[in-house]
């Protein structure tokens, strides 16, 4: 996994709440058996005026000029700003892969759906929870100064706004540690293989019908 320490970049304001994973990556693209290549289809229904299918040359499609990510400088954005309950809906990790493939490194919102939140942390996409008024403040600054940069610092757990205001966020220690160092979850867990085997031994005694 790509480590996340400090990142500074352009913020794209996506002024919607309840942005669902069907919107982030529509289902036709879930047919891929790969982890990469979803970037051109992030927010596909909102981003293009004509319908898209996997395998098309998406650079030839008609972009929706009103959609924020089609408007420079936001097409270069690496931080996404949105309203509450971002990433709700399905468990598809493809939503996270689409955002990282587009180039996003962090999403800032007042709240996230649970599964999206953990999927992001596993892919080096930092979900940053700020209070609603702080998010509102960022929307105002970014909209007043398109292209303004924001710094997200996971070591310090701070967001530095374009006007130099510093907002603080939190992330549980375990996730923070893994993100800061880009650690492989499975290898870490397998260090506890003996604990898992001991648990299974107890399970066979206590609830034998659970293990075939």
């Amino acid at each position: 996994m790509q480590a996340f320490t400090v990142h500074k970049g352009i913020v794209a304001p996506l002024d919607r709440s309840n942005v669902d994973t069907d919107a982030i990556i529509p289902k036709q693209y879930l047919k891929s058996v790969k982890r990469t290549g979803f970037g051109p289809n992030a927010f596909d229904d909102w981003r293009y005026l004509d319908p898209g299918e996997p395998g098309m040359d998406h650079s030839q499609r008609r972009p929706n000029p009103d959609f924020v990510l089609n408007r420079p400088p936001y097409d270069q954005a690496t931080i996404l700003l949105a309203r509450k309950n971002f990433g709700c809906g399905s468990s598809r990790e493809h939503a996270v892969w689409a955002l990282t493939d587009f180039g996003f490194r962090a999403v800032i919102a007042p709240s996230f759906a649970d599964i999206f939140f953990s999927n992001s942390c596993k892919n080096g996409l930092l979900p940053v929870v700020l209070a609603e008024d702080e998010v509102q403040n960022l929307f105002e600054q970014v909209e007043a100064n398109p292209g303004a940069q924001v710094e997200v610092n996971l070591e310090e757990m701070t967001v530095t706004a374009p006007d130099a205001t510093v907002f603080r966020f939190t992330l549980d220690e375990d996730r923070r540690h893994r993100l800061l160092h880009g650690l492989d979850d499975i290898a870490l867990t397998l260090q506890h293989a003996d604990d898992i085997r001991a648990y299974e031994e107890r399970l066979r005694q206590d609830r034998p019908w659970m293990v075939e």
Binding site: R16, V33, I186, I196, E200, P208, W209
Partner: protein, 469 residues
């Protein structure tokens, strides 16, 4: 000290290891797998040279991409076909249990798990699919995971989790005639909102929940995720135990009795404390119809489309306005004046035998209205289909001009050929009404099977009891 909640009990029995910061390595008993969210996980496993930790915990099935029409020719769409074939080669490569498309036991992963007794009370159940919450209806801790976690469970049989807060949603009293489990859960989401359950595990309780069948409880737990909760559950009672008895993968004989004795302890203690409690009066719940693009945007069938101008919260009002534009609806329109173009009865929310019976009862002796271009019934599994055919339900639907299809997710998310065309409006028994969910530009109204059937017959939304003829 306060007693334990059902969630506490399920959690505690699965702790393999706990770190000082509360991160817990949780043991997973059952891992359900489908074709969409697993290919990258199997690939990761293979690249790292790892084997599944406990292959017998896995049950795999293709459901999202499979065609619901004649299957003899296989899958026409090459991309869908590749995905299903990838699943087949992954399961055979690792020797995992698998129901192929031609197997009568094939169906939607959340329908076949309980049907096979693959999910049992007291288990932790995961699947790379957010509607895994469905299995909580059996008194299990069941939740959806992402693909990285699918790989993690395959490799380690465990997941790192933090215990969430516990919410109890109590629905007390008697339901009005014609009000179903689907209406209860839509009313709950209408009340607490799509983020109301975020950060909680929800236990559904109260006399109205206990009065439901296990299938009805599944419909409710299924939509926990639409209320923002990763897991929903219902305490075990005798109905649960009778439901599990004789299921193909359930224990038998003395072992069953021993298991049942344990399962009976899977209830919240009377003095257990919840972090949040929500109460609903069952008698006040009417049949529900969603009018917008989020499952919290619901109204009673005898109500009207709401007016964003009357909403004080500006962000909410804007969301409502955008939803009305997408749905092409005017504020104040009676719900009964909304006319669908298509009707879809199916999905992991409502495709079990009781759902099909409820729809067939409404349809019996009637015909689909002329403005309904397509009314389709997609059973949740091959076994549900078989059972329905034995009861003659297929004839009732076919005689009424409905289509009777093969099992799968179908138009719930339109990854196969079943989909809405731009602008088409659908009465659907599925669980999500997001923009484009059932096809780009498609407009979804979430309803119960009885209401979907009534809409197909009348050509507009209507309470089934008010149907003439």
């Amino acid at each position: 000290m306060a007693g334990k909640t059902l969630y506490d009990k399920l959690w505690e029995t699965h702790v393999v290891r706990e770190e000082p910061d509360g991160s817990t390595l949780l043991y997973i008993d059952r891992h359900l797998v489908h074709e969409v969210t697993s290919p990258q996980a199997f690939e990761g496993l293979r690249l790292a040279g790892r084997e599944p930790w406990r292959g017998d915990s896995v049950l795999a099935v293709p459901d999202h991409n499979v065609p619901t029409t004649n299957r003899d020719a296989g899958i026409e769409d090459p991309v869908s076909r590749t995905q299903v074939e990838t699943l087949e080669s992954n399961v055979s490569g690792f020797g995992l249990k698998f129901f192929p498309m031609a197997d009568v036991r094939q169906g939607i992963v959340h329908v076949i798990g309980p049907e096979q007794g693959a999910t049992l009370p007291g288990m932790t159940v995961v699947c790379g699919d957010s509607h895994t919450s469905t299995h909580g209806a059996l008194g299990a801790l069941a939740f959806g995971i992402g693909t990285s976690e699918v790989e993690h469970v395959l490799a380690t049989q465990c997941l790192w989790q933090k215990k969430t807060k516990a919410m109890q949603i109590r629905v007390e009293g008697e339901l009005r005639p014609g009000v179903t489990a689907k209406d209860i859960v839509l009313a709950i989401i209408g009340r607490i909102g799509t983020a109301g359950g975020t950060g909680y595990a929800i236990e559904f309780a109260g006399s109205a929940i206990r009065s439901l069948s296990i299938e009805g409880r599944m419909s409710i737990c299924n939509m926990s995720i639409e209320a923002g909760a990763r897991a929903g559950m219902v305490a075990v009672d005798e109905k649960t135990i009778e439901y599990v008895r004789n299921k193909p993968q359930a224990p038998t004989g003395e072992m069953f009795e021993r298991a049942a004795e344990y399962w009976r302890t899977l209830v919240s203690d009377p003095d257990a404390e919840f972090d949040a409690v929500v109460e609903l009066d069952a008698a006040e719940i009417a049949p529900q119809v969603s009018w917008g693009t989020s499952p919290e945007m619901v109204a009673p069938v005898d109500g009207r489309v709401p007016d964003p101008a009357a909403e004080s919260d500006a962000v909410r009002a804007e969301g409502m306005q955008r939803a009305l534009e997408y749905m092409d609806l005017q504020p104040g329109t009676p719900i009964t004046e909304i006319r669908p173009d298509k009707v879809f009865i199916g999905s992991c929310t409502n495709s079990r035998i009781e759902d099909l019976r409820a729809a067939a009862e409404v349809v019996k002796g009637r015909r689909k209205a002329d403005n309904i271009k397509l009314a389709m019934v997609v059973p949740g599994s091959g076994l549900v289909k078989q059972q329905a055919e034995q009861e003659g339900l297929d004839r009732i639907f076919l005689d009424a001009g409905f289509e009777w299809r093969e099992p799968g997710c179908s138009m719930c998310l339109a990854m196969n050929a079943d989909r809405l065309e731009p602008g088409e409006r659908c009465a659907s028994t599925s669980n999500r009404n997001f923009e484009g969910r059932q096809g780009q530009g498609g407009r979804t109204h979430l309803v119960s099977p009885a209401l979907a059937a009534a809409a197909a017959v009348a050509g507009h939304f209507i309470e089934p009891s008010k149907l003439g003829g």
